[in-house]
């Protein structure tokens, strides 16, 4: 039982990182109907920026600066490579983000160099004792940070008109323009937010274990998470991320004993299995908006 709880908590910890990553994807999707494949690069860039800044400013300031920096990078990318594509087929834009990802990663890899870089977080691998359970402190930090950021985002979308503007722009850019929505501004906003979130997520990925040139791959975990939650739902992204994290963690712990016939490391593909199962029942994920079609 204790084992189950511990792997559940580990799942919630990694799940909150997936959730942060997923939020970035969802925000961009909401405004542009594009899955931005540049998120992995922005994430890793954020972590690497922290690993340099932390030596000068200390951890928390470094995270803040890195978040702003990466949001800025995302804004530049948006302005240069995405804005000109307003009104273009989304898949073309998706492939462009992929090219952007390649370019950014080359640069970031230059900064990573040969070694594993440490983000210098205050938690390390220290444990906290919660009701007799050994819980890594960084997981608690991840979970709380995610909760706070999600709260802020919800408030932003709830109390400003930009949430609606994003959805309108995503549905029909021309019509949104005709309503006076500055589609460019909406794009920039979504990219900026997503970039900042990626930086925070990247930093958390790096806690306790550092970042190297391969760390970006973890960002892909957000894809099944957003499908599970529904591509355009912020709440869904959070739930999806946590579900994926928890299921994965449980499978890591118990699949070997319970279902060895699934092969070694079945956990690696559980996010996708969960995704498929959810879609069998709900083709738009748990909270996604169904496409409206009538003739």
């Amino acid at each position: 039982m204790k084992g189950v709880l511990e792997s559940l908590i580990r799942g919630l910890g990694t799940g909150s990182v997936y959730a942060l990553l997923a939020l970035g994807f969802v925000i961009i999707y909401k405004a542009t109907r594009v899955i931005s494949f540049a998120q992995p690069a922005l994430m890793i860039a954020g972590a690497v920026a922290v690993s340099y800044l932390v030596q000068v400013t200390g951890f928390y300031v470094a995270v803040l600066l890195s978040t702003l920096l990466i949001a800025g990078v995302a804004l530049v990318v948006e302005r240069v490579a995405i804005r000109p594509m307003v009104g273009r087929p989304v898949f073309v834009v998706a492939i462009i983000t992929l090219g952007v990802d390649v370019v950014i990663r080359v640069v970031v890899n230059g900064f990573i160099g040969l070694d594993v870089r440490q983000v210098g977080d205050p938690w390390g691998l220290r444990l906290a004792d919660i009701g007799g359970l050994a819980v890594q402190q960084r997981w608690i930090a991840m979970f709380l940070t995610t909760a706070v950021l999600v709260g802020l985002l919800f408030a932003f979308f709830r109390y400003t008109r930009y949430g609606l503007a994003m959805r309108a722009a995503a549905f029909d850019q021309e019509t949104a323009l005709a309503q006076g929505v500055s589609v460019g501004m909406v794009f920039a906003l979504s990219w900026g937010l997503a970039g900042g979130l990626a930086a925070v997520a990247g930093t958390f990925v790096g806690t306790g274990q550092g970042v190297d040139q391969l760390t970006w791959i973890i960002a892909l975990k957000a894809l099944p998470a957003i499908i599970v939650g529904g591509l355009d739902s912020l709440g869904g992204a959070v739930i999806g991320g946590l579900v994926i994290g928890v299921v994965e963690s449980l499978v890591q712990s118990y699949q070997g004993d319970l279902a060895p016939w699934l092969g070694q490391n079945f956990a690696v593909v559980t996010p996708y299995v969960v995704m498929l199962l959810v879609l069998l029942v709900r083709p738009y994920g748990l909270f996604g908006t169904p496409e409206v079609e009538r003739v």
């Binding site: 008109r161 609606l164 309108a168």
Partner: protein, 261 residues
């Protein structure tokens, strides 16, 4: 005053669709723009609201002046802020948003007046109020058309460009739309009305233009147009003696208009 001078517009760098169009919409007036399918009416409205770009189109010559100031380089959002708002052809509602959300997007540039404008629109279209929580994509064609008109009013525009607002509306509602146009015009909004329902349009306009293949071919006060023989025949469906013709008697397709030859 909204004024178009000698405007030329091209799609895809090659298709010349407006060929030197000039037109004036004096403040406070209702101006009708008539023309066959493909004449370039929608293109002209796109040029006025800054949306040509989206269609790979551009203005290659001429100018658009708003109160004497050139505005043809401005972005759509800037134009909306300056008071030009458009009801687009084909309704173009945000199908995945609810009725009320659609209207709120219309108020994007005027958040402070949103609540008041919302009440005004609901007053004009009670049906929308009834369905305000419903997903707009499931509305019937005519209901969507009301929503599109309502949405354009949400920014409280000074100039309203209406692209076939009566399309798909039941006769009773066409009457209402006409009254509505008159009403908003009275409340101070200037209107450029593109319509296929020429009788309705001319009956409430001060001035009318007829456009064919990218050119203005007639430019007269609405009353004169209503009396014009050609307009009667080709736009109002009145025979020489003023009697309404029956569709069953129509024998030929594609007649040439006299003013084009």
């Amino acid at each position: 005053m909204l004024e178009v001078r000698n405007l030329e517009a091209v799609y895809d760098d090659v298709m010349l669709v407006l060929r030197g169009v000039s037109l004036r919409v004096p403040a406070g007036s209702v101006v009708a723009l008539l023309g066959a399918n493909g004449a370039g009416k929608t293109t002209l409205l796109r040029a006025l609201s800054g949306l040509l770009d989206v269609h790979d189109g551009e203005i290659t010559k001429g100018s658009v002046l708003l109160d004497g100031e050139p505005v043809h380089g401005l972005l759509p959002a800037q134009l909306v802020r300056r008071g030009i708002s458009q009801v687009m052809e084909g309704r173009r509602i945000f199908a995945e948003l609810t009725v009320e959300e659609n209207l709120k997007v219309g108020a994007h540039t005027a958040p402070r007046r949103a609540a008041a404008n919302l009440e005004r629109v609901y007053g004009l279209f009670p049906l929308l109020k009834e369905r305000r929580k419903g997903v707009s994509g499931y509305l019937s064609g005519g209901e969507q058309q009301m929503l599109a008109v309502g949405r354009a009013l949400m920014s409280g525009p000074r100039y309203l460009l209406l692209d076939e607002p009566s399309l798909g509306l039941a006769p009773a509602l066409v009457g209402q739309i006409r009254d509505l146009v008159v009403e908003i015009n009275k409340q101070g909004t200037t209107i450029l009305l593109v319509e296929q329902n020429a009788a309705m349009a001319l009956s409430i306009s001060t001035h009318g233009y007829v456009m064919e293949t990218g050119k203005i071919v007639m430019d007269r006060p609405a009353a004169e147009l209503l009396a014009d023989e050609d307009i009667k025949e080709f736009y109002l469906g009145l025979g020489a003696e003023g009697a309404v013709k029956s569709f069953r008697e129509v024998k030929h397709y594609r007649r040439r208009k006299r003013w084009l030859s």
